[in-house]
């Protein structure tokens, strides 16, 4: 299964990644490899296997509605690339999806 350039560009757009032509070509090959491996899994007969959302046999792990203290603001902002007061500052993005 070989991905097209358009498909790679579409995936890059969804992830907001800008790729050079050379990168598109490289990822096209790598992603196609991954898909081929999954194609092998697809061959397994799963007619009698119910779909599963989670491989771990856990269920109903719930927590009581209790409040705990949050992080101090300085720690929250520690990795902020840009800061204004106690806000993170980001580029304006228009046209919310």
């Amino acid at each position: 299964m070989i991905l097209s350039q358009e498909e790679v560009n579409h995936i890059a757009l969804l992830a907001r990644l800008g790729l050079s032509n050379e990168e598109v070509e490289r990822f096209r090959e790598q992603l196609s490899n991954i898909l081929e491996n999954f194609a092998i899994l697809q061959e397994v007969d799963t007619t009698d296997v119910p779909p599963t959302a989670q491989p771990i046999p856990l269920q109903n792990i719930l927590r009581q509605d209790d409040v705990d203290s949050s992080l101090p603001c300085e720690e929250v902002m520690a990795n902020a690339p840009r800061r204004e007061g106690n806000y993170f500052r980001v580029k304006s993005v228009l046209g919310k999806s």
Binding site: H10, L14, Q54, M77, F88, K91, S92
Partner: protein, 493 residues
Amino acid sequence: MDYETIIGLEIHSQLLTRSKMFCRCAADYTSASPNTHVCPICLGMPGVLPTINRKAIEYVIMTALALNCSIPEFTKFDRKNYPYPDLMKGYQISQYDFPIGVRGHVTLEMGDAKTISVTRREIRITRVHLEEDVAKLVHRDIPWGDSYSLVDVNRSGVPLMEIVTEPDMRSPEEARQLLIKLQSILRYLGVSTCNMEEGSFRCDANISIRPIGAKEGFAKAEVKNMNSFKAVFLALEYEAIRQRKVVEQGGHLIQETRGWLEEGTTVSQRSKEYAHDYRYFPEPDLPPLTINPSWVEEIRSQLPELPEIRQERLVEQYGLSFYDASILTSSKPLADYFESCMKLWQGDDQERKAKILSNWLLGDFAHLLNENNIEIDESRVTPSHLIELLKLIEEGAVSGPAAKKIIEDIFHTGKRAGDIVVQQGLTQITDASDIEVTVKQVIGNHPQAVSDFILGKQQALTFLVGQIMRMTKGRVNPKLANEVMRRELEKLC
């Protein structure tokens, strides 16, 4: 060609839990400074593990039951992927194919105040599911044209319940009524504050038009950015007309998202084609949930009396009209207030008393609350204050017009009606001979009105009686004042 309007709604409401959906940060951020209710989980740091808030699940089950939904035994969370700065992780934890509640309905009662008639409309509920709220963006414009955004993560991770309806509404008014009804139900349940202006209750609407009798309609528009009931109504009215115009002028409707602007129009928010490629997949960090029927029944048994049931009971118990009962029960605090009052005003004649009380609650008292923008349960006029006043009216100690002044006084000062009557000398004058003095004064002061009356102008009488009421601060029974005035004037004819 005649068209009908087809409307479906998606309603988001923040749940009133103490902690957030997947972490223990406090959920109520209304008075918090920015980025103070934040931890690695709601900040979306790599490697953290979310945990499910049981209360949020219970609130959604509760709501789904109140909306007559079924609760499937299996439910799970999914990741909805899209990049936007208000989404800390690059995905939102939501529910895709196995929501908590499915297939319910809400009955709308479209009341008509003039004819006091009620028409019922059933609106189907598609699903009720749980997700997390996103961070808040504050847009800033720099004078030389550039702009940027500030991110406050406090709201990120607050439990958000989404209710989706089938496209069953046929007018903007029905959409507005549905919102009012949902708000009332959610407030009765105590699961959300449902305040549209503050953003704890939000609504997106899908609207399209269809030639009457046809199976297929035209492309629908999704309208966003409406932050009041009135805005929803106006935006949908605008869209319904806009879509008709486009079709009638031979234009072509496309499926699109449109934003409501305060100026009174909707504009296309050019969404790119990849916008809805959310690539949902099961949330690997959260195990699925089995909602046991016994858990559901336990929650059902704790449901409070809901507005519809309460309305029927009020009609039955107090002989109220269906219309009055529907308004009284539309808000839980109002219905609670009514019933507290009735408890303080027992004895025979309950139906008559209920009618008097409901007239006050829906009339003069409601005016006072609206004008001052105060909720009934925050008013200084407590049920005991109001009933004391109504008893004074019943005993004939206070006239109707004086009572209106007294309730305003209680409203502003919190004094007792009995004290106000004594302090301001508002005891009703019932003796005709006491009134005659005032009547003669009024006649002496207004010769023009008197001659108008003698010449046959009936309005002059109303004016003269008004003067009596003014001079006595409304202490005279208006009917009595009218009688005495008419008698005195006729003597002059």
